[in-house]
């Protein structure tokens, strides 16, 4: 099957910043993203878990598939939001079906 080279960017970010991130991505020309819930995690600021919490606490994972040439503006947009916050950004090479969608 015909596949096309792309990048998969995964951003784990605090939930209160979700909307800010997706708006920044849209401004940077990102055409699509998928948001996954996060149950808990651990890092330099300790272990946390979503159980029993009220309010926009916790984190979410935002996944973007993009053409390789759009990576740079995406990372810059994401970084501007994530910069002062906890959370991580990772980039993986991937292939996608239906390249016209990206």
């Amino acid at each position: 099957m015909q596949t096309h080279r792309a990048k998969r960017v995964e951003i784990v970010i605090e939930a209160p910043l979700e909307r800010r991130l997706t708006e920044a991505l849209e401004k940077a020309g990102v055409t699509g993203y998928t948001i996954l819930p996060v149950l808990g995690g651990g890092g330099r600021s300790g272990h946390w878990s979503r159980e029993g919490q009220v309010g926009r606490s916790g984190m979410v994972a935002v996944i973007c598939l993009i053409r390789p040439e759009r990576l740079e503006p995406l990372l810059e947009a994401a970084f501007a939001v994530v910069e002062r916050h906890i959370g991580v950004v990772s980039i993986t090479d991937c292939e996608v079906l239906r390249a016209e969608r990206f």
Binding site: S45, W48, R50, G52, Q53, G55, S57
Partner: protein, 326 residues
Amino acid sequence: MDGILSLAAANLGSPIILSFVLGLSAALARSDLSVPEAAAKTLSLYLLFSIGFKGGASVAAHGLDVRLGAAVLAGVVLSFGLPFVAFGLLRVMTTLSRIDAAAVAAHYGSISIVTFVAATSVVAGRGLEAEGYMVAVAAAMEAPAILSALWIASRGGERTDAEPDLWREILLNGSIVLLIGSFAIGTITGEDGLARIESFIVAPFQGVLCLFLLDMGLVAGRGLRDQRAALRPGAVAFGVAMPLIGGTLGLGFALLIGLSQGGAALLATLAASASYIAVPAAMRVALPEANPSVYLTLSLGVTFPFNLTVGIPIYVAAATTLVGAS
């Protein structure tokens, strides 16, 4: 004093407090008991809807008080002012950085709705009436403290991310909107409306509150367990002293305005309570460098249990004494 003690004892033996204690102990003992996130959120929606609606229906029944405006104003002034008091205290009592101290201060200027709800139960249990519009005062007190804290932080040269969007988010945050909205619905539909949904929002209320406090105990206990490091003696002392100061100021304003005994107890409780939902979320956006484990542990792990167990009986006893004497 005797009154306080017996009230405190009665309070401590109520299913509500004991449920909190159960949650707290379970978390400290590392039990895996937990309330699903969706359930906790839903219980809190229920409590907000119910308390707002009942407040509105009570306003509809008793007519609008001339003191409503004054009470809301007092709440706003308290919310603006308390962060300065808290910040000053924190700089003296603790070694927190300016930014951490500002973030903590925001929490103590704002309010905790569950503490308010618990106080309402105690007030009602003592047979006291309270002004229905106190829920509007509660809503009005949520946000101003954030402004003060950001101002304090920015004076210290701190960069704060307070874009216009943040203000919309804070002022229209879910709990304010639901509280004010259901208050309005209660006011419009009045006793008739209340009669229609009474067996949902009145009868099971105390029981739902038990489950919610079980969850609060679990969350507070988990916080205390994992973030013990954040609990320096100075900070703990602040977490107990600040509500007493806030409560005193709240009571002062209540006397000034001429609120009823119940209303005065509630305003004192609001001033004494510390936010643990709305303000933390705002701080993560606006002051991300402030350490969440400091302000969450203080607010939820120290001040909330203090108010629930010891604080509220004190505020109620003080209100009945002082307002009765006035």
